[in-house]
Symmetry: C2
C-alpha cells in the first residue's frame, strides 16, 4: 500500500519527531532528505531509512513530507520531482507555497523539543490539500500519528498560529518574568506550580472568561496599586501588569 | 490533643474547602463561625460542626482559622476572644492585621472554585506566626492538609502574590483573549490544549527562559507584523501582543 511508505525532507526537530512517530506506528520512512545527507546517516539508520540529498529524490508518486523551516519551503518544493505528492508542516506558510499537482499541509500543532518525547496521541494534526484525494490520503496518514486530525484551511491556520503564540510563547514569557521576580526575592516558581496546573485544568471545564479571579477582576485598586509599587524596579513586568490588568478590567465592565 | 480540634471563621470557598479537608484528614472542626450562622447550618452539620455567630466564640485556647475576605480580617480579629490562637488565610494581608498574642498566617496558595475539588496534597501552605510555638503548631496543622508546607514571611507572601497574579490571572486572560479570537474565526481553544499542556510541562524541566520559542524569540519581523495586521480589529489583544513580543525580544537581546 502506497500510503504506508513515504519520504521526509528536513533535519530539524519536526522532521526527527515525525519520522520516529511514523516508524513507531508502522509507516515506513524510506528516505530522509537533507542538504547534508551524511550528517543524518546516524538518525536515518536508526529508523531504517536512507539519508539522501535533494538531487537524489526518486520521481515516483510516494508522499513526501517537507518538514523544513518556513523560509525554505518554497525552494525545497522546487527541487522535488513534479510527480511527488508533497505537504509541508508549517503553521504559518500558506498552501500555495507549494505548486505540485498534489500539494498539501501536514501541520502538527505542537511545540517540539529535542529533549522531550511528544505525547502524539492528542496532538492536533491540521490537514489541508489542493485536491480531495490528496487531502484524504494525508488525513489517513495523520491518523497513524494522532487521534486528533483536523481539516484546517490556510486562513484558519494563520489565526490558529496567532492564538498559539499568545497561549504558548506569551504564557511562557509571563512564567519567565514571574520566575525572575521570584528568584530575586529568594522564592521559586515551583511554589506556583499547583496554581498554574489549576489555571489550566479550569479552562478545560469552563470558559477562561468564567474562570477569571484576582484583583483586576474585582477592580481592587488598593491591591493593583500595591503590586505596581512592588514592580517599580521591573519596568517590563510593570508595563505588562498594568496593560493586562486594564484589559481584564475592561473585559468585565461590558 | 489540642491540635486536632479547631474552629473556622468564614463562609466562603476557602472556609468550605479548608473545613472539608481538615475533617477528611481527621482534624475535628468544632465550630464554623459566620455572621449568619443559620445560613451555614447545612454545611456545618455535613461535617459535624456547629454553626455559631461571632458573639458566641468560646474563650478557650483552641486554634481558630480566619478564612474571611482581606478587608474583614481586622474587624473579625477584634471580635475574637484574646485567648484564642488565630491565623488568617490571606495571600495579601500582613501578619499584623491580627493582634492576638498568638497570631499567624495559614495561606493555601491555590485558586479555589465551588465546582472543583482541590488536589490538596501538593498545595503550598504558607505559614507565618508571631511566635515560634504557634508557628510550629500551624505547621503541624498544615501537614494534615498537604505535604507542601512552607515558612513564608509577610514580605515574601506579597511577592508571591504578585507572581501568582501574573501566572494565574494573566495567563487566564491570555487564554480568554485567544479563545475569543479563535471563536470569531470558527475555531476553539481545545485545538491549543496539547500545546498549552506542553508549555506547562516544559517549565517543570527547564527554566521558562530556556523554554521560549516563537517569532518574537527569533525576532521574526515578518511574522510579527503579519500577526499585528490580523489583530487589527482586536485592539486589546493587539496591544498585549506588541508589548509582550517586545519584552521577549528585549529579554533575549541581553
Amino acid at each position: 500500500m502506497n500510503d504506508l511508505i513515504l519520504d521526509i525532507a528536513g533535519s530539524g526537530k519536526v522532521a526527527h519527531h515525525l519520522a520516529k512517530r511514523f516508524v513507531d506506528q508502522g509507516v515506513r520512512v524510506r528516505h530522509i532528505i537533507s542538504r547534508r545527507p551524511e550528517e543524518l546517516q546516524f538518525f536515518a539508520s536508526s529508523i531504517d531509512a536512507t539519508s539522501i540529498g535533494y538531487d537524489e529524490i526518486p520521481g515516483d508518486d510516494l508522499p513526501l513530507i517537507i518538514a523544513v523551516s518556513d523560509d525554505a519551503i518554497s525552494s525545497v518544493g522546487q527541487s522535488i520531482p513534479r510527480e511527488r505528492k508533497v505537504a509541508h508542516t508549517s503553521g504559518t506558510a500558506a498552501l500555495d507555497q507549494l505548486s505540485h499537482e498534489n500539494s498539501g499541509v501536514f501541520y502538527p500543532l505542537q511545540s517540539f523539543s529535542d529533549s522531550r518525547e511528544p505525547t502524539w496521541d492528542d496532538i492536533p494534526l491540521c490537514i489541508e490539500a489542493n485536491n480531495i484525494e490528496w487531502e484524504q490520503e494525508l488525513i489517513e496518514l495523520a491518523e497513524y500519528l494522532s487521534s486528533n486530525v483536523q481539516r484546517i484551511d490556510s486562513d484558519q491556520r494563520k489565526h490558529l498560529h496567532v492564538a498559539a503564540v499568545v497561549v504558548n510563547n506569551f504564557t511562557n514569557h509571563l512564567f519567565h518574568q514571574a520566575e525572575q521576580y521570584l528568584e530575586d526575592h529568594d522564592l521559586t516558581l515551583d511554589l506556583l506550580r499547583p496554581l498554574i496546573q489549576e489555571t489550566i485544568a479550569k479552562t478545560g471545564e469552563m470558559s477562561a472568561f468564567e474562570a477569571q479571579t484576582g484583583p483586576a477582576l474585582r477592580n481592587d485598586e488598593k491591591t493593583l496599586d500595591s503590586h505596581l509599587i512592588l514592580l517599580e524596579e521591573y519596568p517590563e513586568l510593570k508595563d505588562i501588569y498594568a496593560l493586562i490588568s486594564n484589559s481584564i478590567i475592561k473585559s468585565y465592565e461590558r
